[in-house]
């Protein structure tokens, strides 16, 4: 059998599609910009100087490679599979987001763009973008839903310290999807000097593929590190999914390793039921077109987009990257959902057993690890992406646990 024909790593096609998902559903004003970006990215992709610059910054600015850590007490506690955490929360700025931002900003500089715009939910992508813009002296404007500005105050202040302008978005319901709408509106207005730095593997082609390629460093490192630690591939890899960039980054280098079980964990909010109080696009949505791509979306019967609901602002998006939709439909990856309550429990256990305060996003992945690990044999290797640290979430967690905490504490 020729494995080339069976590779899961060849997408997207020339129209930016992963199967029927993806594409370029944008207004004509943006279309020429997206074609320019695609051409520039295609050039950069095969340019060793581009990757040399990335490697240098990844090493000296971000602190890569991030460790692959054997979570011994967690493993012992669960009494089953051997659990490894890919420590992307140790990156500069505290999450995986900067892996991608560096790539896009280097690209923006190559294209001569001087003004960077970004959308952010939890604020991690906004902070990463503000950080890299500060480093390169670029003007940075971050669109953030007014609701998220309220619940992620520490990150808003960080962005301001870093010199970014944070624009609270009140249109629609003031969440991540509305922030993305307003970023697109900015881009359509400021086409000549502006680069739109998208934070996840969604949006029009080439963003889903480009962001995946920048985040794939996570999976490449994990594969090497696991080989070094255990002499073989992991049996299961797990990551949390909002838009899905940390997950795609971990998954991509393993897609053709057929023995590796791949699991994406969506935010189940209060539970995936008919009340739609969740953000589980794959388990609770259906295919539609939004923000430049066809993918699974939370929507009503008339094709109107619904708001997601999650304790984690970073997962609070009604869509998901198109490559995940494709992996879901062809069955190469499995997608599950975890509720707010389950994530909170995992958050606390991680703090207590491992001395790691995880972000609420990877707490969802961890909650699923806690579900499956006890029933797996001790030689079963799990690699979970600890994609962000939880400092930003302590106020939310305190509130959810019914604890009082003065913000000056």
């Amino acid at each position: 059998m020729n494995d080339l024909f069976n590779s899961f790593m060849t997408g997207p096609d020339e129209k930016g599609r992963f199967g029927k998902f993806g594409g370029r559903f944008v207004s004509e004003t943006l279309m020429p910009l997206i074609l320019d970006l695609e051409a520039e990215y295609e050039k950069a992709k095969t340019d060793p100087t581009f990757w040399a610059e990335m490697d240098d910054l990844w090493t000296h600015y971000v602190g890569r490679p991030s460790p692959l850590y054997h979570a011994e007490r967690l493993t012992e506690h669960l009494g089953g599979a051997k659990i490894y955490l890919k420590r992307d929360e140790l990156n500069h700025t505290g999450a995986h987001k900067i892996n991608n931002v560096l790539g896009q900003i280097i690209l923006a500089r190559r294209m001569g763009k001087t003004r960077i715009i970004a959308e952010t939910g939890a604020g991690q992508h906004g902070v990463a973008t503000a950080t890299v813009c500060a480093k390169f002296g670029l003007k940075c404007i971050v669109y953030m839903g007014a609701h998220d500005v309220e619940r992620q105050k520490p990150n808003v202040f960080r962005m301001k310290l870093l010199g970014a302008e944070v624009v609270p978005v009140t249109s629609g319901r003031g969440t991540l999807k509305d922030a993305m709408n307003d970023a697109l509106r900015d881009w359509v207005t400021n086409v000549r000097d502006t680069f739109y730095c998208i934070g996840t593997v969604a949006g029009p082609h080439p963003y889903p593929a480009m962001v995946r390629d920048f985040q794939a460093i996570i999976g490449k490192e994990a594969k090497e590190q696991m080989h070094k630690a255990e002499g073989r591939l992991p049996d299961t890899i797990i990551a949390a999914i909002g838009g899905g960039s940390n997950a795609m980054g971990l998954f991509y280098p393993f897609l053709d390793d057929k023995s590796v079980n791949i699991i994406g964990v969506e935010a189940g909010g209060k539970g995936v039921n008919e009340k739609m109080e969740h953000c589980a696009s794959l388990t609770g949505g259906r295919p539609g077109v939004l923000h430049g791509n066809r993918t699974y979306l939370l929507q009503d019967d008339d094709g109107q987009i619904l708001e997601g609901f999650s304790i984690s602002a970073g997962l609070d998006y009604p869509g998901i990257g198109p490559e995940h939709s494709w992996l879901h439909d062809i069955g190469r990856a499995q997608y599950v959902s975890i509720t707010d309550t389950e994530a909170l429990e995992a958050f606390q256990i991680c703090c207590e057993l491992e001395g790691i305060i995880p972000a609420l996003e990877p707490s969802h992945a961890l909650a699923h690890v806690m579900k499956i690990a006890p029933d797996l044999p001790k030689d079963h290797l799990i690699c979970m992406n600890m994609c962000g640290r939880g400092d930003k979430d302590i106020f939310t967690v305190a509130r959810a646990l019914g604890l009082e905490m003065g913000e000056a504490d």
């Binding site: 004509e28 207005t189 939004l290 008339d302 094709g303």
Partner: protein, 263 residues
């Protein structure tokens, strides 16, 4: 010959420029929106652009976004939007109606079913903002096959190299977006628009209508004088949003139509 083609033939014979007016279906409510639409031909509107409400109108400014939200809050749907056209067609069989909106509500219904329903409801053309030529197979080509015009937007970023791609499967007319930006934003200047319209007209025989950022009768006149017509949307919707009566809105529409027609 489609109603749109017939309308332009009639305008050309009379030596008149086209006035195109936009209203969001269901804004502020179904009945008022229908009353405005029904009054439009009498106010001098040559082509009606009927907005299909969508939760995430990425290319629209706050005025149209809010109109969409108002409409959705009253329970507006794609089906009710088509009902506006059906009701209008009972008394007017000649004024073209172009449905303007975003792809997802249509995709959600199913393209074939939608085209059948739209045709039956008396819709003549479609302007779907998030379907560029790269996605023509989605709706543009099936729509033309079903006998509906697919009207494409050309923009200041559509350069000479790209223009033929944009024009290739366009029919009815070409909608030139006079600014880079969202609806209702900066004002377009006739002096900037004129060479762009000429650039497009050199490549197509279709009429070129200019929109985005036209707010007053004088402005409509200036822009129409350098094109085949002008579109006004946000300025009309803004008055509806302020709570103006249908009669007041239509009086304003008439002043805009008179402006465009005096070009």
């Amino acid at each position: 010959m489609s109603r749109i083609d017939a309308k332009f033939a009639e305008l050309q014979a009379a030596g008149k420029k086209a006035f195109v007016a936009y209203v969001m279906a269901g804004d502020p409510d179904y009945d008022t929106a229908l009353e405005i639409v029904q009054g439009m031909p009498g106010a001098g509107v040559d082509i009606i652009e009927l907005g299909l409400p969508f939760t995430d109108p990425m290319a629209d400014g706050p005025t149209i976004q809010l109109a969409g939200q108002r409409a959705l809050e009253t329970g507006m749907t794609l089906e009710r939007t088509l009902d506006v056209a059906r009701a209008f067609r009972k008394t007017d069989d000649t004024t073209p109606i172009v449905l303007m909106g975003y792809y997802n509500p249509i995709y959600s219904r199913g393209v074939d079913k939608f085209l059948e329903d739209a045709k039956e409801a008396g819709i003549d053309g479609l302007i779907i903002v998030d379907l560029p030529p790269e996605e023509d197979e989605e709706l543009c080509i099936p729509a033309q096959a079903a006998g509906l015009n697919f009207i494409r937007l050309a923009t200041p970023t559509t350069d000479d190299k790209r223009l033929p791609t944009v024009l290739q499967n366009t029919s009815g007319f070409v909608y030139y977006v006079s600014i880079t930006g969202i609806t209702g934003a900066a004002e377009a200047q006739a002096v900037d628009v004129a060479p762009e319209v000429a650039r497009i007209k050199a490549k197509t025989d279709l009429p070129v209508i200019v929109g985005f950022g036209i707010k007053t009768p004088d402005h409509a006149k200036n822009i129409a004088s350098v094109a085949d017509g002008a579109v006004v949307g946000s300025a009309i919707v803004e008055r509806i949003g302020k709570g103006d009566s249908a009669a007041d809105v239509l009086a304003f529409v008439k002043s805009l139509a008179d402006g465009a027609h005096s070009a």
